[in-house]
C-alpha cells in the first residue's frame, strides 16, 4: 500500500502542477492594454477582428487598428493577448505558407540600442510578385522585454515554448503578441523603404506605450 500511496502522491502532484499551469496560462492572456488612437501624425480607427481568425487563435482577447497618416499611408496593427500556445501563430507559417512567400527576415532593437528586439519580415505575393507586405512581429512582455522567436508546435520551437511556459507558470509573466504590417507595391516603393519607415514609426510608439504599462 505504501507504493500505491507514493504513486498517487506523484500523480496528484503532477495534476496540481498541470492545473496551476493551466490557470497561469489563462491569467497570462488577461493583459491587453489599449493603445492611444493618436500616435504623432498617425490616427487610428478600430476594426473588429474576424471571428474565424479569433477561432483559429483559440478565441483570445484581441484588438485591431488601422493607423493612417495625412499622406494616405496605412499601417495595420493587431494585438493579441498571449494565453495558451494556440494564441501564438507565427507569421512565417500563417502568412508565409498561404498567398504570400517570405523573402526577407531580420531582427533588430526596435527603439535603439538596449531596447527590445523585433523581427521584421518582407512577404511577396505568390500570384502578383509586385505586391508585398512588410511586417514587424514581436511578443512584448509586461516587464518590458520582448521575444521574437516562433512558438508553434514544431520541434524546433520547443526551447522557446519551454522558456515561455516556465516564465508564465513560475513567474506569472503576461504578454501581448504584436503584428504590424503595411502593404505596398515595388512600383511605388521599389525597396520598401517608405513602407518600413511607416511600420517602424507606429511599432516604436506602441512598443514605448506598452513599456510604460509596467506593473
Amino acid at each position: 500500500m505504501k507504493g500505491l500511496g507514493v504513486m498517487m502522491a506523484g500523480l496528484a502532484a503532477t495534476a496540481v502542477v498541470g492545473s496551476l499551469a493551466s490557470y497561469r496560462f489563462t491569467q497570462a492572456g488577461e493583459w491587453l492594454p489599449r493603445p492611444q488612437t493618436t500616435l504623432g501624425s498617425w490616427e487610428a480607427t478600430e476594426e473588429s477582428v474576424p471571428p474565424e481568425i479569433l477561432g483559429l487563435l483559440g478565441n483570445p482577447q484581441a484588438l485591431a487598428f488601422n493607423y493612417g497618416n495625412p499622406l494616405g499611408d496605412m499601417v495595420q496593427v493587431s494585438m493579441v493577448a498571449a494565453g495558451p500556445f494556440e494564441n501564438y501563430h507565427d507569421p512565417t507559417v500563417c502568412v508565409g505558407e498561404g498567398a504570400f512567400r517570405l523573402t526577407a527576415s531580420r531582427t533588430f532593437p526596435l527603439d535603439g540600442p538596449g531596447s527590445g528586439n523585433v523581427r521584421a519580415m518582407v512577404f511577396k505575393h505568390r500570384a502578383n510578385s509586385h505586391y508585398r507586405i512588410v511586417m514587424y512581429y514581436w511578443q512584448q512582455n509586461r516587464d518590458g522585454t520582448t521575444d521574437y522567436e516562433p512558438r508553434m508546435g514544431n520541434y524546433r520551437d520547443m526551447a522557446a515554448r519551454f522558456e515561455t511556459g516556465w516564465s508564465v507558470v513560475a513567474r506569472g509573466r503576461q504578454t501581448v503578441i504584436m503584428r504590424n504590417f503595411m502593404a505596398y507595391t515595388d512600383e511605388n516603393d521599389p525597396e520598401g523603404v517608405h513602407a518600413q519607415r511607416c511600420v517602424h514609426e507606429v511599432s516604436r510608439e506602441i512598443y514605448r506605450m506598452l513599456k510604460e504599462q509596467k506593473p
Partner: protein, 403 residues
C-alpha cells in the same frame, strides 16, 4: 462463468488498480474548465486550458478526417488486450520480479514539462510512460513483460509529427483522385483527375474536400490498420501473418475510399446533397467495413479454396502461395528477431520491421518462382508418366505381335 468469477477475484485482490486508474484518468483529462466559475468568477471560460485530452481533441480527435482520429479508441483496444493477456499477468504475479519507481518519476516529469509547453505528443508519451511505470512500480518487471503486447499497442496513441501526417494526406489525396478517374475510365466514363479536382463529363468535383484530408482516405487507412492489428493481437497471430493482413487491409481501405469518391462523383450530376453526404461519410464506418472485409476474406477464402467448386480451384494456388508467404515471413521475422535481439537489441528489431516490406516482396518472388518450379516439375512428371505408359503400351503391342 467461472472465468468471470476468477477475473472478478483477481480485480478485487489487486484492487489498487481502481484508485490508480481513477487518478490516472484525471491526469489525462484534468478538467480545469469545470472549476472555472469557482476559480475565476464572472469571467469567460477560456479554451485549451484542460489537460492532454482537450489538446488532443482540439488538434486531432475532434476531426474524424484527421489521420489519427482513431487514436481516441486505442484505450478500448488496450483494455481488451489486457483482458486477453491477463492469465500471463496473473501467473507473473506469483514472482513479480524487480520493482522500480524510476520510470514512473520520469513519466511524471515529462507530463509536467508537457503542461509547460502544451505539446500533445509529449503529454501522450508521458502518460504512457506513467502507465508503464505504474505497473513496473506496483507489480514488477515480470507482470510488465506479460503485458507487453497491450503496452506496445498503447504506443499507437502517440501522435506522429504533423509533417508526417501532412505528407501522408498530400500523397494519398492525389493518388485517390487518379485511381478514382482510372476506375471510372475502366467502366467507360470520361473522367479526368487534375488534383485537387476530379472531372466527369463536364462536372467538376472540388467541394466537399476532394483531394483534402477528408477524401484522401488517410484516416480510414490508419484506422483499418489499427483495427486489424488489434484483431490479430487478440488472436495471437504470428507477426508475419499480422503484418501481411494489416497491409492488405490498409490497401482495401484505400480502394473503398476510391469507390466512395467514384460514387460521390457519379451522384454529383443528380444530387449535390447526396454526393456531399457520401464524401463526408464517416471514416470510421469505412474503416470498419474495410477491416471486416479483410478479415472475412482472410478466413473465408481459405475455406472456399479447400472446397471443390470452380472458385475453390481458382483460389487454391493463390492461397497456398499466400499462406506460404505468410509462413516464410514468420520464419524470417522470427529467426531474425532472435538474431536482432542478440546482436543489437531494440535497434535491430526496428531495422527488422523497417526492412519488412522488402522481405515481403522478396518472399512473394521466391514463392512465385517456387510455385512455377513446382508446376514445371509436375508437368515433367506428367509427361514422363505419359511417355512411360506410351512406351509400355508399345512394348506390349510388340510382344503381342511376336506371339
Amino acid at each position: 462463468m467461472n472465468e468471470a468469477k476468477a477475473l472478478g477475484a483477481l480485480l478485487f485482490r489487486e484492487r489498487r488498480w481502481a484508485a490508480l486508474g481513477l487518478i490516472y484518468l484525471f491526469a489525462w483529462w484534468l478538467p480545469i474548465s469545470l472549476f472555472w466559475p469557482w476559480l475565476h468568477p464572472g469571467t469567460r471560460k477560456p479554451e485549451g486550458i484542460d489537460g492532454p485530452v482537450s489538446w488532443l481533441w482540439k488538434n486531432y480527435w475532434g476531426n474524424t478526417a484527421s489521420l489519427i482520429s482513431f487514436e481516441i479508441l486505442i484505450p478500448v483496444g488496450v483494455a481488451l488486450l489486457v483482458l486477453r493477456y491477463r492469465l500471463e499477468a496473473q501467473a507473473a504475479l506469483a514472482r513479480p520480479g524487480k520493482k522500480t519507481p524510476l520510470v514512473l518519476i520520469a513519466g511524471c516529469l515529462a507530463l509536467i514539462v508537457s503542461h509547460l509547453i502544451h505539446l500533445p505528443s509529449l503529454a501522450t508519451v508521458a502518460l504512457i510512460t506513467i502507465a508503464v511505470g505504474g505497473v513496473l512500480f506496483l507489480w514488477g518487471t515480470r507482470v510488465l513483460r506479460a503485458l507487453r503486447v497491450p503496452f506496445l499497442y498503447f504506443l499507437l496513441m502517440i501522435p506522429p509529427p504533423e509533417s508526417v501526417a501532412g505528407i501522408a494526406s498530400k500523397l494519398l489525396g492525389p493518388l485517390t483522385l487518379q485511381l478514382a478517374a482510372l476506375s471510372l475510365k475502366l467502366v467507360g466514363k470520361r473522367a479526368l483527375a487534375q488534383p485537387p479536382q476530379l472531372l466527369l463529363d463536364g462536372i467538376v468535383m472540388e467541394a466537399g474536400g476532394i483531394g483534402t484530408e477528408a477524401s484522401s482516405g488517410a484516416s480510414a487507412l490508419t484506422a483499418t490498420a489499427a483495427l486489424i492489428l488489434l484483431w490479430a493481437l487478440m488472436r495471437r497471430w504470428p507477426l508475419g501473418r499480422t503484418l501481411m493482413v494489416v497491409v492488405v487491409g490498409a490497401l482495401l481501405a484505400l480502394l473503398l475510399n476510391v469507390l466512395r469518391v467514384d460514387i460521390a462523383l457519379l451522384l454529383m450530376g443528380r444530387s449535390r446533397g447526396l454526393s456531399g453526404l457520401v464524401l463526408q461519410f464517416n471514416s470510421y464506418a469505412l474503416a470498419l467495413g474495410a477491416a471486416a472485409l479483410t478479415l472475412f476474406l482472410d478466413t473465408r477464402l481459405s475455406r472456399v479454396a479447400r472446397g471443390t467448386s470452380w472458385a475453390g480451384k481458382l483460389l487454391a494456388p493463390l492461397l497456398i502461395n499466400w499462406r506460404a508467404s505468410e509462413r516464410q515471413a514468420d520464419r524470417i521475422l522470427g529467426s531474425s528477431e532472435k538474431v536482432a535481439r542478440g546482436a543489437a537489441g531494440g535497434i535491430g528489431r526496428v531495422l527488422q520491421v523497417v526492412t519488412w516490406p522488402f522481405v515481403f516482396v522478396l518472399n512473394l518472388v521466391i514463392n512465385g518462382l517456387g510455385a512455377l518450379f513446382k508446376l514445371n516439375v509436375n508437368l515433367n512428371k506428367k509427361l514422363d508418366q505419359s511417355w512411360q505408359s506410351a512406351d509400355r503400351a508399345r512394348r506390349k503391342k510388340k510382344e503381342q505381335k511376336r506371339r
